[in-house]
Amino acid sequence: MIRNFLVKKVVRNNNFTLVLTLFVVLFVFQMINKNYLSLGNIRNILNQAFVMGTLSVGIGCLLICGKADLSSGAIGMMGGLIVTFLLNWGVPWPLAVLITLCAGAVMGSLNAFFTNVLNIMPFIATLGVSSVIAGLGQVFTNLQDIPIYNKSFWVLGSKNFFSTLPLPFLITMVLLLAYGIILKRTRFGRQIYMTGGNASAARLAGINPKKISTILYINSGAIATIAGILTASRMQTGSPTAVLSYNLDAITVGVLGGISFTGGTGSMSGVFIGILLFNSFKNGLVIAGLDSYYQPVASGILLIAALILDFYRERSRLKALRAHEKLG
């Protein structure tokens, strides 16, 4: 009886389905190419994963709060440029990183200003901010990559643990863990869920929804620059095109990981599995011999798949609601 109950609970758990899918993906590609699960390729997968992984922490929190963020990629890109300029001016790297994080927070606060003070729809506001920042990046660099000469800074992006775990991905994991705990165990985290679930009800229960989303936009900006800094360090260059394209991927892994597009549900553990699943799949396509031009196609398909999944999750929720509510 009890065992049955446990089995049911595990099976219904969204993360269980994701892990199962992940194993299927790993198994299928391993069958196609024996090198898929080699240490070297796992390191590859994780190295490709950290950018979207880091972005997804900030974006994920916003999604749970019911807010969209399309500007993280651009802010990350700008973060990479800022840290590059600072380093090349001779600023020591810890200070350069710190300043860049603050700059990210400032860029994030633009989103907060437009959405909370001017009441512009988050989707549009962040799209606008993204476009402006991405454009400025090109203006500052003339669309040229800028090499970084500070060698001690390179370590951030190139260090590996146990020869498979790159430092950037470790940082992603630490962020996921930290924000997972904040979401599930702290007052602020609970307020994020309640705001995302029903902002007007949360407001009447004494929460300030605008304050919550303001903090989250600033937070997302700062976290985005971490992705930019790590990318710059790994590439040893500041590039006006880096990180940009990962914004959509970060949303995809969030939704894939069980964050509802309408807000109020989801977890960082789900996002973590989403990141692994997404990148294993993308890498697998390359390993299987598909042209790399297919990668955006794969991303798009995964995003749509994630949204369909979200639609069905939401529908089963609505069904439960109807079954219990509308009998009378």
Partner: protein
């Protein structure tokens, strides 16, 4: 004229985990109004949804004029001349009255353009038949809720529907509007239509219906002739037991204390010059028609809407809350009228919904204490006998009455230490049995020294539960009565006084 009839034949419908309808059979005749009654969860709405083709029954069928029908979609239902008018109106607010009435069947000229002249004259004809003072070209979104509902009915009439079902049509209407609605329904009745009428309001049922079908837990309990029954018998049939006089058994608070809240000359964008006092342990009723400004007064006090001028004193000290969070921190709680939209976070658990205003008090160091939270929630579940297997259940899976109890549990926890509890239509959409429970809870809160503000549009409830009653009309207070002096007539007079 052919005699119209509608027959439900042994309708069975199950949802995951619930048997909503357990074989319902009855017959409604043309030219008569058949009322469907029952507590929440009795199966009334499910039955209407089957009639409208929105959902399909597991077993059984519908017979219209003796002919068997199985509706697979709303479209088929409409084609068989059935119209179901739901509470949530199915109109396009940005279009005009005539466009809405003829939405799927616009008169088209030779070139495929809509013939506006014909559209207007046809609509005017329909409006004249019922004597409605609106123009065919009025934009629907700008009409009052009542007239929007009329447009919906016109739509059903235009389709020449022979079967028209109403799902709690009067819930959003004022008394005056209800009168208009009823005269309309009676006209439809005279035209020989089959009319089904779902409502929770007892008085209405006796006013308008010819037959009453009572449902309980998905079964048909009784079919009554309205002229041969009374409220007592009907309530007994609905709840399956005699609840006697709900109000006579109330254990009321008799010790009213000092002034808790004093409002002087409050003015906002929605209310004018409102002044009143609330005492400790008092249940202060706010009566009036819908739209009189009662909710708006409370929202302003609570910091949810801006205040233009006026003074608010909480325990003698002047206060002016800039946001609900400040009000909550001072011990004021608001249970909004719209539970689902404004009160609860439906996707989250009972626990989350109960602990939300006092999260800073369930912290242990940096983190929330799950045990404290769970204890709080279980306390509420036990105290108010919320029907749920555990406190982790999503609130959306609870019935309306239990949802209301979750909100009450939130605001009356020890940690919240509520001083003033504002209840806005707390019994709306709640079944008779739970209503009685809520009334007793209100009196219990008063006994604990809480000042309770009780907004309700149900007169009997205000008259019987509250110690003092304030009546509002058209944005300001028109009178204040004690329970002893208040009568239905007096309150109504004040509620309509200009």
């Amino acid at each position: 004229m052919v005699e119209q009839s509608l027959e439900f034949c042994n309708i069975v419908k199950s949802f995951p985990g619930v048997k909503a309808l357990k074989g319902i059979s009855f017959r409604a005749e043309g030219g008569r109004i058949c009322a469907l009654m029952g507590e929440n969860g009795a199966g009334k709405s499910t039955l209407l949804k089957i009639l409208s083709g929105d959902i399909q029954p597991d077993e059984g069928c519908l017979k219209i004029n003796g002919e068997e029908h199985h509706f697979l979609s709303p479209h088929q239902s409409i084609k068989s001349s059935v119209s179901v008018i739901y509470q949530e109106r199915q109109l396009v607010p940005s279009l005009s009255v005539m466009e809405n009435i003829f939405l799927e069947d616009m008169p088209v000229g030779k070139l495929g353009f809509i013939n506006m002249t014909e559209l207007r004259s046809k609509t005017q004809e329909i409006l004249d038949t019922f004597g409605l003072p609106i123009a065919p070209t009025d934009t629907v979104g700008w009409l009052s809720v009542a007239y929007q509902q009329m447009v919906e009915i016109m739509k059903a009439y235009r389709r020449d529907s022979n079967i028209i079902a109403f799902d709690e049509p009067t819930a959003p209407l004022t008394d005056k509007e209800i009168t208009i609605l009823f005269s309309l329904i009676k006209k439809l009745k005279e035209k020989g239509k089959v009319i089904l009428y779902v409502s929770h309001r007892m008085a209405e049922i006796f006013q308008i219906s010819d037959d009453i079908v009572v449902l309980k837990d998905g079964s048909l309990v009784k079919t009554l002739l309205t002229s041969q029954t009374n409220e007592g018998e009907l309530v007994k049939a609905m709840v399956g037991r005699d609840i006697g006089d709900t109000y006579a058994n109330l254990k009321r608070n008799d010790k009213i204390g000092d002034v808790l809240l004093e409002v002087n000359n409050l003015v906002t964008d929605y209310v004018d010059n409102v002044s009143f006092k609330l005492h400790k342990g008092e249940v202060l009723g706010f009566a009036g028609l819908i739209g009189a400004g009662r909710t708006e007064v409370m929202r302003a006090i609570f910091g949810a809407d801006p205040i233009r001028s006026g003074e608010i004193r909480l325990e003698g000290k002047p206060v002016r809350f800039k946001s609900p969070s400040e009000a909550v921190a001072s011990g004021i709680a608001l249970c909004p009228e719209d539970r689902k939209e404004q009160g609860l976070v439906l996707k989250r658990s009972i626990t989350d919904n109960v602990s939300i205003p006092v999260l800073s008090k369930v912290k242990k160091g940096l983190f929330l204490s799950r045990k404290t939270e769970n204890d709080m929630a279980m306390n509420a579940v036990r105290k108010y006998s919320i029907k749920t297997p555990s406190a982790d259940k999503q609130v959306m899976q609870l019935s309306g009455g239990n949802q209301q109890k979750v909100i009450l549990g939130r605001w009356t926890s020890e940690k919240m230490a509520t001083k003033i509890l504002i209840l806005d239509e707390p019994t709306k959409g709640i079944d008779v049995g739970t209503k009685a429970e809520v009334y007793q809870m209100v009196c219990d809160f008063a006994k604990q020294g809480i000042g309770v503000i009780f907004i309700s549009s149900e007169l009997t409830e205000v008259l019987n539960v509250c110690d003092n009653i304030i009546v509002m009309h058209n944005r300001h207070i028109t009178g204040m009565l004690t329970r002893e002096e208040a009568t239905e007539e007096l309150v109504l007079q004040l509620a309509m006084k200009d």
